[in-house]
């Protein structure tokens, strides 16, 4: 059912949903999708925009008021001035990955990815025929300095990092931050794409963003999907250096124009509404409880709790694709195979705890019964 080729967590989820719609008692701990509904105030503002006929083509860089709201929100969070002109609103965070690789890299350039990686990074490198090197993160989810320095050369154009990390749950450290800033200093051609879609889901410690330290050479990728449970509404953004963004606005305009206009108005409410802010805090606390609950059930298998995001990444004594197929077909349990995160993780599975305690309890029991 799950073929041994490029396949996304979303495709596995689609298969799980199909089985569920046929009446099978499927539990999915596969996809990175909060189970909480979107806050009522966001829903209301989208519905209001639709009724007020804010349904015409959006500005291809994004609705101005939303870019203003993001500029204010990120200026505060990142402690560095950001202007609406530097922001491109995209249909979720994934276009920022494609746009960045496409606009920065030529066929001679090289990209550095860190394993375990989000499958979308190597996908676009492969599709665009851009060479990439993979460096395995340390067991604690951090960048090994010696490995990174060994792989850098004059062709290196882009590093893609992801903190808080999916699937390891690690945060960027001061040490790694210094290392990366040194790399930017030493290699003037290199840019960093910093995927920070889990920035608001941190349970211990603090999220450090390299974007705060060198926004001329770092592209920030953010999304409304995880923080505001807006996965299906497809709203995200990139903050780009000025020399890149102008062509990308035209690119975006020729590709999709932009995310649906009324949904962009919902994004303004997400960022500005105080009740939504409290809701995000509430969800973070709930995710933390679930994280702790899962730890209790799996502590024979895992060494530490994730500091951020909402996944456990677990080594198993089986091939992950076969195991996940079996879990879905025999136990109606959807999990994400570790092989999707890189060749080093063929014996891993990713378990999402973005699900109810009941589903986690039952899902983990099914998982443990397979070991």
């Amino acid at each position: 059912m799950i073929e041994n080729k490029l396949i996304t967590a979303i495709e596995i989820e689609a298969k799980a949903k199909e089985l569920k719609s046929k009446g099978y008692p499927v539990i999915s701990l596969a996809i990175g999708e909060p189970d909480f509904p979107i806050h009522e105030n966001i829903k209301k503002s989208i519905n209001k925009a639709i009724l007020e006929n804010k349904n015409y083509y959006p500005n291809p860089q994004g609705v101005v008021e939303l870019r203003e709201a993001i500029a204010e929100y990120e200026t505060k969070r990142k402690k560095i001035h950001i202007s609406p002109d530097e922001i491109l609103i995209t249909a979720g965070g994934k276009p920022v990955i494609f746009y960045t690789i496409f606009s920065l890299c030529n066929s001679d350039d090289e990209v550095i990815l860190f394993e375990p990686y989000y499958l979308v990074y190597p996908y676009w490198c492969k599709v665009l025929n851009i060479k990439y090197h993979t460096i395995k993160l340390n067991e604690d989810g951090l960048i090994p300095k010696d490995q990174l320095l060994k792989h850098l050369n004059n062709k290196t154009r882009l590093l893609i990092i992801n903190y808080p990390n999916n699937p390891q749950g690690s945060l960027m450290t001061e040490e790694n931050l210094e290392l990366l800033l040194e790399v930017l200093d030493k290699y003037p051609r290199i840019y960093i794409l910093s995927d920070e879609v889990y920035s608001e889901l941190v349970y211990e410690g603090e999220h450090i963003s390299i974007f705060s330290y060198n926004k001329n050479r770092v592209i920030l990728l953010e999304s409304f999907s995880k923080t505001f449970c807006m996965t299906g509404l497809r709203l995200g953004y990139g903050i780009f250096p000025k020399e890149i963004i102008k062509n990308l606005v035209t690119f975006n305009s020729n590709l999709i124009t932009g995310p649906a206009t009324p949904i962009q108005y919902g994004g303004i409410t997400a960022l500005k509404d105080n009740e939504v802010k409290n809701y995000v805090n509430f969800m973070r606390e709930e995710f933390k409880k679930r994280r702790d609950f899962v730890y209790e059930k799996l502590k024979i298998l895992v060494k530490f709790k994730p500091k951020g995001a909402f996944y456990y990444f677990i080594e198993i004594p089986y091939d992950s694709l076969e195991f996940c197929n079996k879990a879905l077909n025999e136990k109606f349990l959807a999990l994400t195979p570790g092989s999707l995160f890189g060749d080093s993780f063929k014996n891993y599975v990713r378990i999402s705890f973005a699900n109810s305690m009941e589903n986690l309890d039952e899902g983990l029991s099914r998982f443990l019964s397979l070991l």
Copy 2:
């Protein structure tokens, strides 16, 4: 203000909106956007989907019920069986252009475009480094047989056609249909991308779709934007041959996942609701009245009324970019420069009649005062 480079009608419209928001009495006859609001039943069904929490990631090929509705709708319209598996739901129609060129063409292949063209076609050829030839349509908006046959060769991979035509308003004829079917027969490598987003906006004669005659070699591009006034909601679809669609689902999944889930539910209502059907008929009649009104005002300048779509494409004794700049800056009138439709049309402007009678009256007076 409008730079002499790749620029889209949407960017001109954004500039016009910006001026309008600053208080200038802007009238835009530039963009291809119906001024009618979205039908209440479509709005209601989107709002209902949002309130019912149909806000999770969509199936990356598109919500199944929407694909089923499209399959039924197109099977009826095209008089040929279409299955939901052949349909990919996209964020408006433009992704279908990019996806098609990207999936079919390699660097050795050639694309044939017909001038005047929709700017998005050559944009993607250029960005993807695919060679294209341009053939100028006859004055009546039809394909000149001799020219087409002269340009075909073993490298030709894709023809992109657009009927009802933007900006000429012409329809596909039986003669052109036969010509294109012969080309498909004679050149087994060639596919045709048939952009039919104006298929429901026909005022005289009948829309013929080549897709009905050879769906194995024709990709159908359709959109909810023009027919249902859903421009800002970004909903469209492609119907693809089976050997192409599978990879495109993964492509779409890695790029944007899909259009926003609740908006896909609105698409179902657009296709199935009888009141919406009546509304489309009402709009078509209104557009026809406007077309006739514009003809009366411009008949010194134009030779015939457009049969479909909602534009007049008019020759002027000026450089179109300069003229459009002047119109916007001095008369606050937004028009689309003909140069966007190909080098042969540097002395043309496109005037959209998707606007109220009042705005058309005032806008055309401003236009005429500039001649």
